[in-house]
Symmetry: C4
Subunit: 355 residues, 4 copies
């Protein structure tokens, strides 16, 4: 079977992953409206392509927080990569480095930060952080990430409690015994780690904007805030001094029936007015989706599930293949829209549906 586009990898993963793992990765909250809207919303946006531009030399590189990446697609933080491929996050790290892009490692990794770092020294990596009730545990994670050379902290803000994912409940989802949330293994040793590998309610639902200051007191790393969907929160994020915003609805896994991220991006970008970088995840399935996100003001996009499908297909190699397809499609759609470099992509390239 030829792997021509990302949905080929999706079909492969659906076919070959254990049902419980596929369901976990595919899950959306409640009726999965937002999960599916993330994709549908892209389809409602129309390009306004320009002809007869010289696109003989294509430059698709960009910079995020000052660091160059090969094209504006990074790996979003997702949990439990060993469910997709035995080597887990180590393969992810290697693939991201090979493709010269950024990998946001999740707190919920099945490899330790140290293993991830050693698997692909020199790769550009950010670390995704949840704030636990056990603050010491979170603090230790920050320090480890900083020490290991992770270049930014990504604070997830949309999980005061875990969203209701019906299939995981029906399946009685638990990590297989040989997998662990390894980064926090010692912190919760002996506890009942039945909720996605950690004790129930281990995340701190009392976190507020003030904790951005607490986080900043722990580290000199740039702080990126993930999960923002409104202009009000975008403004607050800027005022609290974050270096970047990831517009995200957690792949539709938290609050169902919130906005599609590409729709929320428009609102957030307008509110931010260029003061910090804005990224987006959710619903990216082909290169032209990346182009749309950039046209609407994203500096870079991050892919979640497609990265997992790539891992499920062939580990590091499969993920590289996913990224390479996206890269080729992105380059081609840029050229066909009349842009030869990322700097030429702008709001004029797209028309939002009146819907």
């Amino acid at each position: 079977m030829a792997m021509v586009c990302l949905s080929d990898f999706e079909a492969y993963a659906k076919k070959y992953l254990p049902k419980i793992a596929w369901d976990y990765f595919a899950a959306g909250a409640d009726d999965c409206v937002t999960r599916d809207e993330n994709i549908l919303a892209y389809k409602r946006i129309r390009f306004r392509p320009r002809m007869l531009q010289d696109v003989s030399v294509m430059d698709i590189r960009t910079k995020i927080l000052g660091t160059e990446i090969s094209f504006p697609v990074g790996i979003a933080p997702t949990g439990f990569h060993q469910l997709a491929w035995p080597d887990g996050e180590k393969s992810t790290a290697r693939a991201a480095r090979a493709m010269n892009t950024c990998y946001i490692a999740s707190t919920y990794s099945t490899c330790t930060l140290e293993e991830i770092s050693m698997a692909a020294p020199g790769g550009l990596r950010w670390f995704q952080l949840y704030i636990h009730r056990n603050r010491a545990a979170s603090q230790q994670l920050v320090w480890r990430a900083q020490t290991l050379g992770f270049q930014a902290l990504v604070l997830t803000t949309d999980v005061p409690y875990t969203g209701k994912r019906r299939d995981d409940i029906r399946n009685g989802f638990r990590l297989p015994p040989h997998m662990k949330v390894k980064n926090l293994e010692r912190d919760f040793e002996g506890d009942d780690c039945s909720e996605y590998g950690l004790p129930p309610n281990s995340l701190d639902p009392s976190v507020t904007w003030k904790d951005i200051d607490w986080l900043r007191s722990l580290t000199h790393l740039p702080i990126i805030i993930k999960g923002i969907l409104t202009k009000e929160d975008a403004e607050l994020a800027v005022r609290h001094g974050v270096q970047g915003i990831i517009v995200s609805n957690h792949g539709g896994r938290q609050l169902d029936e919130g906005p599609a991220t590409i729709d929320a991006l428009v609102e957030v970008v307008e509110a931010v007015r260029g003061r910090v970088e804005v990224y987006v995840d959710g619903g990216i399935r082909k290169g032209s989706d990346v182009l749309k996100a950039l046209a609407l003001g994203a500096k870079c996009v991050f892919i979640g599930r497609p990265a997992l499908w790539g891992l499920a297909y062939k580990g590091e190699e499969g993920l590289q293949e996913v990224l390479r397809i996206l890269q080729d499609e992105f380059r081609l759609s840029m050229a066909l829209a009349g842009c030869s470099s990322v700097s030429e992509i702008g709001r004029h390239l797209v028309q939002l549906s009146k819907l």
Copy 2:
């Protein structure tokens, strides 16, 4: 089979209830457009969730007409609970009391008001009233309800005649011989009770706003008017001194192709301008629907069919399970939207589709 969400109960009820009972509960008028729109209209509303609010302590209680309930979901008046469960409305009353919420008992109960009261002493109950051509019968009902401690009268206004429900006609729906509209058993003894358990055309189609005054002359109970769908009628209701309005289209069982209730709620709330409490029923299928209704100005919502599915599943216990699921989902969606108490829910939480 795990009962994870309300549609699990629906599937159960559809599978295990006699077809004639299922069809009666599921029925909508004519083409069932409004019945289905009640649900679809919720899906068109998007949340605008706020991040980094302290949601560690959640308070989902509210008050209706001054009485506290455990969360803003009550039981809407529906008929013939014995069709769903042998104990009928007695189970409903017990479940509502156990969950500390309000149960609106229907005139068309298969238990008497007295049986309902004795089944769950001390529970918060309102009584739903039709005005019959036989006014003495209606008057007696009001007095019995008042005597038994029902705390409000809910006057249904959208049934001058019964809507045309095709499946009931095809099925030749009649109550099984051992079931009766017990509250009115004596009033219509010996009559041909072939129309939903009462004589054909027993309801009074000449009722007008003036009869609100008549009703008030009978009782000191607060009067709530059910079935309002326009701002004009909302204004009239307020002027006629009602204490509350239930925005309702009778579950889509009366006039087909009227508005979805959540759409009408917006119009009614705007017209009422806080002068009386506004409630809504129809189409509530998950906790986030409750959150949307409250964001749009409802003080509380009422569930009809989902309560019947709960009864059909396991009687009192099944209904409690339905309510508990809604409660958990409502609490979670509140937290994920950034609200820790009902008082923080407001219009800013939602975006209406431009459709």
Copy 3:
């Protein structure tokens, strides 16, 4: 099988009519977009029902051109009733008279005007006219209709040529040998009557507004113009002194992808400003459709295919059943919307979708 609503008759007709006849009646032009839109457009209109109106005494009568009918639904002109029932238009005429409503007999009847008249003396009938290249033939028809007591002429304007109905072409539709366009039998005797029972291109495509004057010179009967879909033509019709306008797209059988008639009605009614009566046909499938049409300004609606389904079911009796169902549904929907007489129906009763 219980005949509960009009689609039951449709299902019956589809099952029992010869395919060639069913296809002929069901046909729309080209892709049948307009045929189907006629129905879908009704579904996009929402009622704004009013509560607590005294609807104990319902009066659903109305007048068209000064003549009272039992309710605002007449029989639209359609051809070849013998394809549906052996007695053809004679049964139609009897049913219309029995139900005290108006029957517009088609030029393309399989009974003569004389047979129709004798079948149901005293019934309210209008005569639908095409203008043929053979003007003498059309002139004779006008005189016969006038002599026989038809009370208006309905000039069809949307058939300069016959629309392209793919199924009729595929079926090689021809009238069975024992059926004829009897009204014109003598005029085209011996001709090749292969195009819907008449010689190909027998209709006059040069007819213009001036021919309204010609028509008026032939008869003292009121002239109603059928097929108007725009405000421009509505204005021209009024200026040319017609007595009524039927907003119609010929059941979607002529120009495909024109407007649904209920949508065009709004535009036409606004242009006419009450100067003449406006009627509508196309897409009426239940009583509440009639209510919507009247709310939007129609004085009366006419049904085409549903009448044929009634005939196919049981001839005169079947058509009466169709009309009785519509009557009951119309009365009920009026009552549920808060109107007790046709004069109370108005624009305030409906909300047009913003689509």
Copy 4:
């Protein structure tokens, strides 16, 4: 099987063509959104037909660049006609001449320009040009076309690189060994002609507006620019002195999720303000689509895939049948809309959906 409308030819071609050929002709880029939107967008446009116009004499002729054609439908440039019919473009040329319309021969023909010319001397033909990296090859083509009497050059602007057509990749599409891009056979002799019959990346992606001047320096033929979708490019085209614009998205085969051509036509026509002729291709499937395009300002439309289906059915004869059906449908829809000549068609005839 009767061939009644264009989709009959589509069904035939799908059934009888080799899958690889059918897939090639049917292919759209990526998710095929734009390919399908080209058709759907027509369905959203409503006619505003006028009645009682004299349509007894119909004149459907028009002129493009001053030359009369029998009706405003020409043959769009598509490649590899031998995949549809052994005689390939020779049949196409003969059919176009027989129907007295314009055929735009593609650079990617499987017959030479000389063979095409000799097959149908005297036919109205334009030549579609790509600019190759090997400019001498393109230059030679221009001169040959001019010498052979082609009356205009059509410069395709939307293929700096070939779009991603998944099915062609999956099928490993290659021309059968006995077929060649004959016009360029000598220029690429011995090369690896694996990309649609030419060496990979043979087209010049550095072409800009300045190359219009280069092209003009080569020939006195009028230059028509194909692939314009925005007002900005339309303005540039006029300023660069082209004689005509074809609004096209290459049948949805290049950039997916650009606008439907009929939607883009409105924007382009408005920008051009009559300074040059504007044409459109993509999505034309029936005569009324042609009428809509003309109502929105197109001087003529061009059909791509339907012409190939005609060839696949019966070569020259099949294509004539396709054109004849379109002609008949166009004439009929004009008449039913109230127009007797092309000059009467205007913007007033259509209503754009508010969507």
